[in-house]
């Protein structure tokens, strides 16, 4: 019985999503091997080897894996699959892209976005934007699983697993990487931030995010998020979107500003420990789930909040 965990990384550093998915992988009860596929990514493999409870790290270093394109990575994992009972990845855009391709190559039905491991073959997952919880049992020989990282604690260091080179599989050669535009920010990443402040349609412009939301974020060391309405309107980039179809987050503190609380947004943040809502509409649904609600105009409340945080020593 062995579980293979596909590591999330950028060829330089191991991402926190891996530590969280590792917690779920260990809950399956078997040994865990971590696969680091990428280019020039030995430092990532070394980081993975230090994680508590990892028994072995497989390093597949090759140009075809540099950008984690689904076609070569699925071929690689498929070639390694016979040695494993379960294949696990965090439900990041990389995991969501690659894992169903692996599942279909193995003729198994993937279990997407699990929030709980009940038994090695039984899991809880959310459906209908988190409005229902399904308990499912897989009858497939190999379990292919993606993990909702916001519901699992990150595994820390404390191991020293051996690193082995994995033989690469033939690249199907049907896809190539052309380019990327990645957001550059000094702020923490949304999915691992302890505090998040998000803006909605009421922000009215990209400039207002910069002028009103970001100063508060900087005082709190918070990540900045946005509702789908704000992203659709072009006020915020797509990678800021929190919700059913964006990122699912569960920080210690989530501050929703000018967000009414559509079901699809709540699906992405309602597991946050403490939720603060600032909205001028006192009937906004977001107040029904907020621990602290402030009925106020955001254009007054946010500068005041920045000032109060300054006074409080932030």
């Amino acid at each position: 019985m062995t579980t293979l965990l596909l590591a999330e990384h950028d060829n330089k550093t191991l991402k926190d999503a891996t530590n969280k998915a590792l917690t779920a992988a260990k809950a399956l009860g078997a040994d865990v091997h971590v696969l680091v596929a990428g280019k020039g990514c030995r430092p990532v493999a070394e980081a993975a080897a230090k994680l508590e409870g990892v028994n072995k790290v497989l390093l597949a270093d090759g140009a075809a894996y540099e950008h984690m394109l689904a076609e070569p990575v699925a071929a690689l994992v498929h070639s390694l699959a016979p040695g494993y009972d379960a294949i696990v990845a965090p439900a990041t855009t990389t995991g969501k892209n690659v894992m169903p391709r692996i599942a279909a190559l193995l003729d198994v039905m993937q279990i997407s976005d699990i929030v709980k491991v009940i038994a090695p073959d039984t899991f809880e997952r959310l459906i209908y934007a988190g409005n229902a919880v399904q308990t499912v049992r897989s009858k497939d020989k190999t379990k292919v699983i993606t993990v909702r990282t916001s519901t699992f604690q990150a595994t820390g260091e404390g191991g020293s697993a051996p690193i082995e080179e994995a033989a690469s599989a033939a690249d199907p050669g049907i896809s190539t990487f052309v380019g990327e535009e990645l957001s550059k920010t000094e702020r923490p990443e949304l999915t691992s931030a302890k505090i998040i402040i998000s803006g909605g349609r009421a922000m009215q412009s990209r400039e207002n995010f910069t002028k009103y939301i970001e100063p508060v974020a900087d005082k709190l060391g918070a990540a900045v998020g946005a509702s789908r309405a704000a992203v659709d309107a072009g006020y915020a980039p797509n990678d800021w979107q929190v919700g059913q179809t964006g990122k699912v987050v569960a920080p210690e503190l989530y501050i929703a500003v000018g967000i009414s609380g559509a079901i699809q947004h709540l699906a992405g943040m309602k597991d946050s420990k403490v939720i603060v809502a600032i909205n001028k509409d006192e009937d906004a649904p977001i107040f029904q789930i907020a621990d602290y609600g402030l009925v106020a105009d955001l254009y007054q409340a946010l500068p005041e909040l920045a000032a109060e945080l300054g006074k409080a020593g932030r």
């Binding site: 699925a74 169903p100 039905m109 993937q110 976005d113 229902a132 499912v136 190539t176 957001s183 402030l294």
Partner: protein
């Protein structure tokens, strides 16, 4: 080039679903059903490619109950040319749907299959990637832009850190994200015209696909609830509570 667009009948996005009291599933009787919103985006993208002269025919496929005909008609009213209904009263899983779609791909030989990235009922996000695996075609998932250049398809993808562009060697599978386009509304004359467009009816058996589920649903329950907390009157009071009551800041 022909474009195949699979569409799914789901509970309308604006309906708040209810879990059945015996935990056997979600209440679907007498609930408004619509085309999965991501699939509407897929239909729209296919139609735009046809209007640009880059596609010749748009075929909508649905795997589902007899009523999924209505979902196909929605696509036809938007402008698709014809439909295929693969009728089954079981709720087939993404793997089974992908196998049926693969058989249809072999029959219809499209140059492109455009699917929604996920259905808003089961939130699986699998069918497109699985179809890509089974056909051996490349995949451009979570697309916010799609450009056809000769035999290649350039797809800009919404990824966690921003945007990534990949070049796929056609034929290919593309799944849609929200920012790809804004789907059109069907006009009344087009709704009338759609009634005359052909829809073929098939069964999973005809394609030799077993739709028995691989995942056994043991229980469908309510998620842990969350209660409304308190309203604070001022920003000062809010900061005080977060700092002194919760120790968060």
């Amino acid at each position: 080039m022909k474009i195949l667009v699979p569409v799914k009948r789901v509970v309308d996005k604006d309906i708040k679903i209810r879990v059945k009291s015996d935990n056997s599933g979600v209440e679907l009787a007498n609930v408004k059903m619509s085309m999965n919103p991501f699939d509407e985006i897929a239909v729209e993208e296919a139609l735009r490619l046809k209007e640009k002269g880059q596609a010749t025919e748009v075929v909508c496929v649905s795997v589902g109950p007899q009523q999924a005909t209505e979902t196909i008609r929605t696509g036809l009213a938007m402008g698709a040319d014809r439909g295929i209904l693969v009728k089954t009263d079981k709720a087939p899983e993404p793997l089974a749907v992908a196998k049926i779609l693969k058989a249809i791909v072999e029959e219809e030989k499209p140059g492109l299959v455009i699917l929604g990235k996920q259905a808003i009922d089961d939130d699986c996000n699998q069918t497109g990637q699985m179809l890509a695996a089974l056909t051996g075609w490349p995949q451009g998932t979570f697309a916010s832009k799609l450009v056809i250049e000769g035999d290649s398809i350039l797809v800009t993808r919404e990824v966690d850190g921003g945007l990534q562009t990949v070049k796929l060697k056609g034929p290919a599978i593309v799944t849609t994200d929200l920012r790809l386009n804004e789907p059109r509304y069907a006009s009344l004359p087009n709704i009338m015209k759609a009634k005359k467009k052909p829809i073929d009816e098939k069964t999973p058996d005809a394609y030799g696909v077993d739709v028995s589920p691989r995942l056994e649903v043991l229980k469908t329950g309510e998620p842990a609830g969350r209660k409304a907390g308190v309203k604070v009157k001022t920003v000062g009071e809010l900061v005080d509570k977060l700092k002194n009551e919760m120790g968060l800041i």
